[in-house]
């Protein structure tokens, strides 16, 4: 028989997966498609795309990150308080693995809201200002570098994040 708590678990996991696919999918789009493509474009073309394409992609990117992390932590703590102390090494590893993956994901969320979005927001505002005849701020290159470093860091962190999340229920079995 299905218990109410199982419906809560399934719902939270579904939201977590939906948000995570959206977030990390757009992260990979930025790193593998948009950044190299923008290097090939001229200034006027970029000025058309930044306030439209980039602004829209960043909206889904940053809010999907919030949904993913919130649903993930809610699932983790609901499970922890419902299950009680883990009884065996397989369950202990599950909590350690999910905890490490969750903290890596939280650092990635902080990179999105603390570094990538604040700097990209300035770049979008400057590009929109350019269309109204305002000069390009001298700090524009610096903002782009900071956002790109944090984006590359998130790209790299997504690999161990997926390992710890994906292996949580399997690694103790694999290692015997």
């Amino acid at each position: 028989m299905v218990e109410a708590i199982d419906v809560v678990y399934i719902s939270l996991r579904w939201v977590h997966f939906f948000g995570g696919i959206t977030w990390i999918g757009i992260l990979y789009y930025f790193n593998f498609v948009q950044v190299p493509t923008f290097k090939e474009l001229d200034g006027p073309t970029k000025n058309i795309l930044i306030p439209r394409l980039v602004k829209r992609a960043l909206f889904w990117f940053r809010w999907a990150a919030v949904v993913t992390v919130l649903a993930g932590w809610l699932y983790f703590f609901t499970r922890y308080f419902a299950d009680g102390q883990p009884a065996n090494i397989t369950r202990i590893w599950w909590y350690v693995s999910i905890l490490i993956g969750g903290l890596i994901g939280t650092f990635m969320l902080l990179n999105v809201w603390g570094v990538i979005w604040p700097n990209q927001k300035r770049i979008i505002a400057a590009t929109e200002g350019l269309a109204k005849g305002k000069p390009v701020p001298p700090e524009m290159a610096k903002w782009g570098k900071r956002a790109l470093i944090a984006s590359r860091m998130n790209l790299a962190l997504s690999l161990p994040l997926l390992f710890f999340m994906g292996s949580a229920g399997h690694l103790p079995i694999v290692l015997g």
Binding site: N31, F32, V35, P36, K39, V96, L99, I100, L103, I104, F107, L110, G114, V115, K142, K145, R146, L148, I149, A150, S151, R152, M153, N154, L155, A156, L157, P160
Partner: protein, 55 residues
């Protein structure tokens, strides 16, 4: 994907953070304290301080 300065910096910091996570996981097992998760948190604060000084 070109391995520019930003890529190297981002991947370098990610490697350091993961290394600190592994060190803290080992220390948590040995010393049985969740407080040791502070190790990667300090490393990440270091990244935030550094990245906001990039020119």
């Amino acid at each position: 994907m070109a391995w520019g300065k930003e890529t190297k910096a981002g991947f370098g910091w990610a490697t350091l953070i993961v290394a600190l996570f592994l060190a803290s996981a080992w220390a948590m097992v040995v010393y049985r304290s969740l407080l040791l998760l502070i190790i990667p948190v300090v490393g990440y604060i270091g990244f935030l301080a550094w990245v906001n000084r990039v020119k």
